[in-house]
Symmetry: C2
Subunit: 420 residues, 2 copies
């Protein structure tokens, strides 16, 4: 039985386009039935493999798999489960190999961020030493856009588009009413360690007077006085002020603003909530009427406003992962390479997982204006093509037609259960 | 000089489609140049008339006016300025008439909610008694959908679509990760007095196990124990629970949940924030991992996901307002009349302002399930056609092409200034 099956799993926070990568993997595998058997997906990510809870994707129709291209979130379920180091938890890695062996799996496609790239590398190494070599290919995905060696990460372009469009729309709303109503609007967006998502809001305006007037990045320490002075100056000049704040905005000492001591009536720390914190600051110190919004999961699941570039790249990376496997590659990751020309172009490159794992790519300082509150022309040039193109899902009766898979389980072969 | 000019103003909270009504008013007036002179818009709503700060819309190109159809927020500015009663502030009404007279204005088109319908009626009455009769026509608009006599209000259908789509997308996100991550997701939406917007979230799912699992309406008193029991039962049954809460959710005694005593580090009441309040409740009492989002202005400005039905109706009501004026009507409001057939249809009707002003339309009890946490089939039938159709704006470089008008001021004719 030389034709091996493939295993595919989604890892970590899901995105508007991670299923487009799944679609790329499964469709490409199906086009190579002579060399790849079935594609089994982990139910809820890698814990599906540990529990031997596999999904048989061959039970899904061609149309259902195609529908993944338009469907947000993780169609097979994802998880937050970081495998510990080999020394600390060899049992988990051995279990994975055992399950893969039982199901004749020869290809391991892992769709995730930095942590999963690391897991993917270790699985490849261990499988070799255990005498059951696997080809482990990592498919990049993260809205945080913080993976190295790839020009950008699938999932980011669509969040960026959502944030830029939402900022533009909300700013127009505030502007049209600021004469008698809200003067300061604060939008909190994701990005705990890197300000890529907040930066994307900068695409909503071009000149100093256009919103967003202030962006707060995790990379720039928050300065209470400087922030309030800028808010006040902006309101005086423009009549209103739009602030987009990265949830990771922090003080010089690394404390997050969002953990700045809000207490509820029982004295519990109020968890989350950078936007209301900033709003209270503005209200107390400047007295302006404010509104705030927290986009939270809405931003990363907003397939209805996905970027066509992002969808195309997510699919292409899934496809490339299978192609890499077919040509015998191992412990690698397909990545996006930006063309050198003035007009945006991209192609698929290949990175070695040992160079990817556990490296975090922050915003370069030259993408942030000197005052720390905006994005530079260099950032605009980088970001703009990533939000280009509209990839609308099909609608029925006014609502998107997202697919729901059957997710039929593969019969278990192992007697031993494994607790995760 | 028998050909009178028209005055148009936007009032109160803006919407994704109020400019579509403006487009209907201006285009229809332009098509009747033989009978209507120029259309002057109030800068920032009615205060523009009080200040004699009028915008000459004849300076805008045909393309710019057409662009209003696709542009959210208030293109001429809106305001929150409720004219007091005639007895309390006769001066404001008299000033309006004075300004209208100075600019040969014979038609008063006021685009707003219940308060502005009342103002519109009073202006009509007073102008008559002051010997300068105006035809005052109200153009309905409110995301709250709480005006009487019209089947629905322009602005609502688009918010409803935004909320239904966002709920669907975020719920898929939570579902795909609930095995190891967030169990409870709370989305706070607008609607201080009526639960129409929260109800629209109900379109995201059809069966009991589909999100949203819980909707909190202002119409149904909040029951702490019942709420938590439902959250817990849902998590046990489905693995996760999605809650959509109207900002107007309240206790039996009328206190808003959002004012339930959160204090910041300085002891100030933390303003706003029903979602974080509910999240803290879930965390403290049930221990579940949660996330929350507050859509705030994003929901009412989201022209990118506007309902085609809503855009069509908003335009048609603006057009009808001018047509009513041309046939000599006064103190009326064009409204949406739903056809009787099984298949949704609508036409324009006419309501007298004396029947509209200051009446608030709440959700009928039979639109809310007996347990108070969901919507009934009757509600679905009412809501579904209002979100139908996608009315995408044009895009350039990945971002919507919203118009920005020149908003050229009409030269002042009055010497007297008026302080607002």
């Amino acid at each position: 039985m030389s034709k091996k099956n493939a295993f595919y799993a989604q890892s970590g926070g899901v995105t508007a386009v991670i299923n487009a990568s799944a679609c790329g993997v499964i469709e490409t595998a199906r086009q190579n039935r002579d060399r790849i058997g079935k594609v089994y997906a982990g139910r809820n990510g890698i814990i599906g493999a540990l529990r031997e809870d596999l999904i048989d994707t061959s039970k899904e129709s061609k149309a259902a798999i195609r529908g993944l291209l338009n469907t947000p979130s993780g169609a097979f379920g994802s998880c937050r489960h970081k495998l510990k180091s080999l020394e600390d938890n060899r049992a988990e890695y051995e279990r994975l190999i055992e399950v893969f062996k039982a199901h004749n799996i020869g290809y391991f496609f892992y769709n995730g961020g930095g942590d999963s790239a690391d897991t993917c590398l270790k699985v490849s190494q261990l499988s070799e030493s255990m005498g059951y070599p696997l080809q482990a290919i990592h498919v990049p995905k993260t809205i945080d856009n913080d993976l190295p060696l790839t020009d950008n990460c699938p999932g980011f372009g669509s969040v960026a588009k959502y944030v830029a469009v939402s900022t533009m729309e909300a700013a127009m709303d505030v502007e049209s009413m600021c004469e008698t109503s809200t003067k300061v609007f604060i939008l909190e967006v994701m990005g705990r360690h890197a300000g890529w998502i907040a930066a994307a809001a900068g695409l909503a305006g071009e000149s100093r007077d256009e919103a967003p007037h202030i962006i707060l990045f995790p990379e720039i320490p928050f300065d209470h006085d400087k922030f309030l002075a800028r808010v006040q100056r902006t309101v005086k000049r423009c009549g209103y002020c739009v602030v987009v704040a990265s949830e990771g905005a922090q003080y010089k000492d690394g404390r997050f603003l969002a953990e700045s001591g809000l207490k509820d009536a029982f004295g519990h720390s109020q968890l989350g909530g950078l936007a209301p914190f900033l709003a209270a600051l503005v209200k107390d110190e400047l007295g302006y009427k404010y509104h705030w919004a927290v986009a939270d999961y809405l931003q990363r699941s907003a397939r209805h406003i996905a970027s066509q570039t992002d969808v195309d790249q997510a699919y292409a990376l899934g496809r490339a992962a299978v192609e890499f496997a077919l040509r015998g590659d191992n412990a690698v990751m397909p990545c996006i390479v930006r063309g050198k020309g003035k007009r945006y172009s991209w192609s698929i490159g290949e990175a070695r997982l040992q160079d990817v794992a556990n490296v975090e790519k922050k915003m370069p300082r030259n993408y942030i204006t000197r005052d720390g509150f905006g994005i530079t022309e260099a950032a605009r040039e980088y970001l703009a093509p990533l939000v280009a193109g509209e990839a609308y899902p099909p609608y029925r009766n006014g609502l998107p037609q997202y697919v729901r898979l059957k997710n039929v389980a593969v019969p278990r072969k192992l007697k031993k259960r494994f607790e995760v």
